[in-house]
């Protein structure tokens, strides 16, 4: 009985909103489809970005995130970069 209840509860929690997973996965894959880009392109772009930014600002390269986001009907390139320090000699 307990097992049954646990199963029921677990199943409910486990399965709530498999559609949410579907939507999330679709959003990501469609951004790449729509812009005809591959994850490799983003990776290359990210590396170039780091190279350029590094000349002016000290950033946390590990936490740098670059992704495409859907904003209404258009696609935005979003970069989330944590700044550690602005280089003094340039300021």
């Amino acid at each position: 009985m307990l097992e049954f209840l646990a199963k029921l509860f677990w199943r409910d929690r486990d399965r709530r909103g498999s559609k949410e997973v579907a939507k999330e996965r679709l959003r990501l894959v469609l951004v790449h489809d729509r812009t005809s880009t591959t994850p490799q392109l983003l990776e290359a772009l990210k590396e170039e970005l780091i190279k350029v930014i590094r000349e002016y600002i000290e950033i946390d390269e590990e936490s740098l995130e670059v992704s495409f986001n859907n904003i209404e009907n258009s696609v935005a390139l979003v970069a989330n970069i944590q700044v550690l320090r602005v280089k003094k000699d340039l300021a």
Binding site: R15, G17, S18, E20, A22, L26, L30, D33, R34, N73
Partner: protein
């Protein structure tokens, strides 16, 4: 007469293009309009067998473009429904037997005689797709609430827009209210949100479609069929009437309203 050419397409196979073409064609003639269904799936024709007209084919679309057969000779009149005709695809030829230009000519000729020219598009985005959309004025995209179908539908919308088609409407097919209710199937709003296209209608998953297709009859003639009812409503919309979209069976209307209220409150 100056009719409309509507291509029915989906990218992915097996989501209901042919069934939709058959049902909308039939339902439109039940509304008193003249409709012709064009099967462009050369090599894999099926609209004839779905409509129960497979034994009446003499000539096909390839005979019209290459064999000197007149368009009128190749049209099969459906004796059950006043004003309904079928232009069958060829079964033994290649997709390349027809060019987009030839297809456009056929569509232009047909819309002089018919209110609605419904073009049943093959799966895929190659030659067959390019042919099917060549003469279209607008498009109906069929998608089922599954990731593969939605992804393909999105690709199709992009290709239709690139081809200059501006009016692209979506039919969500085979939706299962129970699965939607428990959060295991994308809902109408989810799909509209992702695909950002105009909604033409929603068709529920319904066994009666298989039963009627077994018999070579479209589901719209079965008054007990829920899918048939949905298709009849879509046909009225295509015919210019304003018909509200039924969202997931009337029985849980109140439930949905309450849920929406809670959703709003929790925002």
């Amino acid at each position: 007469m100056k009719g409309k050419v509507i291509v029915i397409t989906s990218g992915k196979g097996g989501v209901g293009k042919t069934t939709t073409t058959a049902n909308l064609g039939t339902a439109l003639t039940m509304l008193g309009r003249k409709a012709v269904m064009v099967d462009t799936d050369i090599g894999l024709r099926n609209l004839d067998v779905v409509m129960g007209l497979e034994n009446r084919i003499v000539f096909d679309i390839v005979d019209v473009v290459t064999g000197g057969i007149k368009l009128k000779q190749a049209l099969i009149k459906d004796k059950r429904f006043e004003g309904l005709y079928l232009l069958p695809a060829a079964q033994t030829k290649e997709k390349s037997a027809v060019s987009p230009h030839q297809m456009k000519n056929i569509c232009n000729d047909l819309k002089k005689e018919f209110d609605f020219v419904l073009v049943d598009c093959p799966a895929g985005i190659e030659q067959g797709f390019k042919n099917a959309i060549a003469g279209a004025d607008e498009a109906v995209i069929i998608a089922i609430p599954e990731v593969s179908s939605v992804r393909d539908a999105d690709r199709i919308v992009g290709l239709l827009e690139a081809a200059g088609l501006r009016k692209n409407q979506l039919i969500i097919n085979r939706i299962r209210p129970r699965m939607v209710k428990r959060g295991d199937m994308m809902d109408i709003e989810d799909m509209i949100d992702i695909l950002s296209v105009e909604l033409l209608g929603v068709v529920p998953e319904d066994e009666t479609v298989i039963v009627s297709t077994n018999k070579g009859e479209p589901a719209v003639i079965d008054t007990m069929s829920r899918a048939g009812e949905a298709y009849r409503r879509i046909a009225r919309r295509l015919n210019g009437e304003e018909v509200p979209v039924i969202t997931l069976g009337n029985e849980d209307k109140i439930f949905n309203r309450v849920r929406r209220m809670f959703k709003l409150a929790s925002r």
